[in-house]
C-alpha cells in the first residue's frame, strides 16, 4: 500500500464531520458503545477493555460552520469548546454513549458541566488527574479515580471490565504507542520522507479508528514511507509546541513546512504518545497505568512542574533528541495553559540559545500568509545563524 492511499483514507476520516466511520463501527453490533474524549489525555485502555471505542473529539476544524456554538461563548474564549458544542447540537455526536473531559484547563472543565446539562442522557465525566507525583499521594488518588472511571464505564457497556481485559488493551496500546514513536522517529531522522501533514493525518486517524486498525495503518505507512523516494529540501528543523488542545488547521501545518521548516516534533496529538514507554502488562493494570502517568509520561502546560529547573526540560530534551534548530510556539488564541506557560518556556529556550518564534492561531484561521512569512523569516534566520 502506498503512503498516498493511506493518507487518502486518513484525509477522508479527517474531513468527515459526521464521523461515518465511527457510526459504521457502532452499527455493526447493537451492543457497541462509543466514548468521546477531549484533549489532552485519557486512559483509552479502560474504554477499550469494555469493548467500547474511544473517540477523540478535537473540535470542528476549519470546515465546520459554527452557528449555535458561538451563542454559548464570549468572544474571548478559545474556539474548541464552541465547535464541540456545535458538533453536539447539530447531532453530529448523537451516537456517543459517553464523553470524558480531561483536566486540562477551566474551559474544558466547565464544558463538562455544560455537557451534563445539555446532554443529560450521556455518561459524562470530568476526568481528573494527579498533579502530585508521589505514589502514595497522587498515585493512590489516581488509582481510585481510575476505579471510579472503570465503574462508570461498566455501567455504560453493561459488562464487567476485568483486569485481564485491561492488560490486553494495554498491550495493544503499547503497540500503538511504539508505532507512533516509530513514525515520529522516522520523521525526525528523514523529515523529507515523512511530511508533517501526513504524520498529522495519521495521528488524527488514530482518534477515530479502533486501535487494532490504527496499528495496522501505522505499520503499513512506515513500510511504505521507508520505501518512498521524496526530494530532500533545504529546510531547517523545528519543534512545534503549544498546540496540544485546539488543533491548528491542516493548512497551517502545511504552511510551516512550505515556509522552509521541517517539523521534527510536535504536541498535536499527545494522547497517542502520552506514555513515554510501554505500560507494564503484568500485575494490577490500574496501578500500572497510574505509575506510567506519574513517572513516565509526556510533559505539557496542563501539568504541574515540581521544580523550576524542570520547566521546559521536556521541550529542551525533544529539541536535543530530534536535532531541532528552533522552536515554534504555536498556541490557540485565549489558551490559558499554553499562553501562561509560554514565557517560562521562552526563557528556557533563550538560556540554551534555542531560536524561537511565537504566534497564535484558531482552529478556523483562514489567513496563512502572515504565518508563512513569519515561519519563512524564522527559517532564513536559523540558516543564517547556523552559517555564522
Amino acid at each position: 500500500m502506498s503512503t498516498a492511499s493511506i493518507i487518502e483514507t486518513c484525509t477522508a476520516l479527517y474531513e468527515d464531520l459526521n464521523f461515518e466511520s465511527v457510526r459504521a463501527w457502532k452499527a455493526q453490533n447493537e451492543t457497541r458503545k462509543v466514548i468521546g474524549f477531549m484533549p489532552v489525555y485519557v486512559p483509552r485502555e479502560i474504554i477499550h477493555a469494555g469493548g467500547m471505542l474511544p473517540m477523540g473529539v478535537l473540535g470542528g476544524g476549519d470546515q465546520l460552520e459554527v452557528i449555535h456554538g458561538d451563542a454559548y461563548y464570549q468572544s474571548y474564549i478559545c474556539r474548541i469548546p464552541r465547535s464541540t458544542i456545535e458538533l453536539g447540537l447539530t447531532n453530529r455526536l448523537d451516537f456517543l454513549d459517553g464523553m470524558l473531559f480531561p483536566s486540562i484547563c477551566d474551559v474544558i472543565r466547565n464544558l463538562s458541566g455544560m455537557w451534563k446539562l445539555m446532554f443529560p442522557d450521556q455518561y459524562v465525566r470530568y476526568f481528573d488527574v494527579p498533579q502530585n507525583y508521589q505514589d502514595d499521594i497522587g498515585g493512590t488518588y489516581y488509582i481510585n479515580e481510575l476505579k471510579e472511571l472503570r465503574q462508570g464505564l461498566e455501567q455504560v457497556c453493561g459488562n464487567e471490565i476485568t483486569d485481564q481485559a485491561i492488560r490486553e488493551s494495554i498491550a495493544l496500546y503499547n503497540e500503538n504507542r511504539n508505532a507512533v514513536r516509530e513514525v515520529y522517529r522516522l520523521r525526525a531522522e528523514q523529515p523529507w520522507k515523512v511530511p508533517s501533514s501526513e504524520v498529522y493525518l495519521l495521528m488524527r486517524a488514530g482518534m477515530l479508528l479502533p486501535v487494532e486498525d490504527h496499528n495496522k495503518m501505522l505499520a503499513d505507512y512506515l513500510a511504505a514511507a521507508k520505501e518512498e523516494d521524496r526530494p530532500l529540501r533545504d529546510n531547517c528543523r523545528i519543534v512545534v509546541n503549544g498546540s496540544f488542545c485546539e488543533q491548528p488547521p491542516l493548512n497551517l501545518i502545511k504552511s510551516i513546512e512550505m515556509a522552509g521548516c521541517y517539523i521534527v516534533d510536535d504536541d498535536y496529538m499527545l494522547v497517542n504518545r502520552w506514555m513515554l514507554n510501554d505500560v507494564s502488562t503484568e500485575g494490577d493494570p490500574l496501578q500500572n497505568l497510574a505509575s506510567s502517568f506519574l513517572h513516565d509520561s509526556a510533559d505539557t502546560a496542563a501539568k504541574y512542574c515540581t521544580s523550576d529547573d524542570q520547566v521546559g526540560q521536556f521541550l529542551l530534551d525533544s529539541v536535543r533528541e530530534t536535532g531541532a534548530e528552533g522552536v515554534i510556539f504555536a498556541a490557540p488564541s485565549f489558551c490559558d495553559p499554553a499562553l501562561l506557560e509560554r514565557p517560562m518556556l521562552v526563557d528556557r529556550m533563550a538560556e540554551h540559545n534555542v531560536p524561537h518564534i511565537s504566534f497564535k492561531y484558531a482552529e478556523n484561521s483562514g489567513q496563512m500568509q502572515p504565518i508563512r512569512e513569519q515561519a519563512g523569516t524564522f527559517a532564513d534566520s536559523i540558516k543564517l545563524w547556523s552559517e555564522t
Binding site: 466547565n110 458541566g113 502546560a301
Partner: protein, 431 residues
Amino acid sequence: MNATAAQTEVIKESSMLKQKSMIAANYDALTSTADTGRKVASTFVPGNLNELIMCFDMLNNLPEINAINNGMRKKSGAMIMDAEKRGHSEDVCTYVKADIGLMSKGNMAPNGKPLPPPDLLLLSYTGCFTFMKWFELLRHEYGCETVMLQVPYEGDGKVTKNMRDFVVKQLKQEVIPALERVSGVKFDIDRLREYLKQSAEAEDNLVWVLESAKNVRSPIDAYFGGVYYIGPIFTAFRGTKDAVEYYEILRGEIEQRLQKGQGPITPEGDMAEEKYRLVVEGPPNWTSFRDFWKMFYDDGAVVVASTYTKVGGVYDLGFRHDPDHPIESLADYCLGCYTNRNLPQRVDLLEKYVNEYQADGLLINSIKSCNSFSAGQLLIMREIEKRTGKPGAFIETDLVDPRYFSAANVKNRLESYFQMIDQRRKSKSAA
C-alpha cells in the same frame, strides 16, 4: 450634613475603620519582615489556609488582593502593560500580569514600602487552573520553595472520600512539613483548633450579614458592599480575634439598619429606594469599581446575592471550619469553594438565590480574564431564565485591566435591563 447622614457615617465607620486598621497592620507586618524576621507565605483566596499559616507564625500575602488594591488605585493598567511587554500574553488573566508587573515595579505595598519576596509559595490549586501556572511563574522569578496542594474539582457535583483523603494526605505529608521547614516552627494541632473555632464564629456572623439581604428592603448590597464584608474572612484574618470582632461589629450595624428599615450604605450615603433586586454572578470590575456601583444605586438596584462573595467559601450552604476535625475541615473548605463546584451546582445555587432572595433576575458580569468563572456563563444565564422565569442580563468587563471597562456600554446594558424588568412587572400586573 443632616442627622441621619451623620449617623450613617458613624455606623459605617465603625466596621470599616476596624477593617482598615486590620489591613494596614497586616501590610505593616508584611513590609517589616526584614526587621522582625517573620516569614511570608503567598497563597490564593480560594483555598486560603490562613489558620494553618498562622500556626507557623507566618504572614499571609495574597497576590489577588494586591492586584485588586492596585486595580482600585488605578495602578494596575500600567503593570499589566509592563508584563505584556515582557512577553506575557494579552489573552491571560490580568491578575497574573498585574502581579508580575507589580514585582517589576518594586513590589510596593499600599503603605509605600516594598513587599518582601515570599519565603513559601503555597500553591492552593482550588477552582482555577491559572493558579498553577501563576505560581510557577512566581517561582521562576523568586526561586523560592513552592508547595502544591491539589484540590480536585467537584466534576460530579460532590466531594468523594477519595478527593477528601487526597487533600488531607497532601496537607499532612506535604503542606505542613513545608510550613514547618520554612518557618522553623513545629506544628501544633491545638493551636489550629483554636483558630478554627474563631473562624467558625466569624463565619456565622458573615452568613447572617449576607442573608440579611433576604429582607425586602435589603439592608446591604451583597456584591459591591459584599466585597468589603468578605474581606477579613477571605484574606489574612480568618481565624483571628480581629475577624471575630469585625463580624460582631458588622452584624450589629446591619441589625440596626434592619430595625430602622434602612437600605444599603453606598459611597454617597444611604441608598434611597430599592427598585430592583438582583443576583449577580461573576467578580466585579475593580478599576472602575465606584463608577460601576454608582450605575446600580443611582437606579435603585440592589444586589441581594452574589457568587463572587462565595469564592473564598460558600458558608451560606452550611460549611463551617470545625475544630473537632481540623485538617479534614480545611480539606472540605478547599473542596467547597464556589469555583471548585461544577456548572450544574453553580446553576442550582443561582436558582436558589433568585428564588430565596426574591430577586428580579440574574445579572452576569463576565470577566474577560477569568475562564474559571466565565466559560459557560451564557448557558448559566439561559438555564436560570428557564428555571425561574426571571430575565437575565449579560455584561462584559475585566478585573483589573481598565482597557476592558467601557462605562457607556455597561450603563446602556444595565438601563435596558432595568427597563426590561419594569416591563415584565407591568405585563404581570396587567395579567
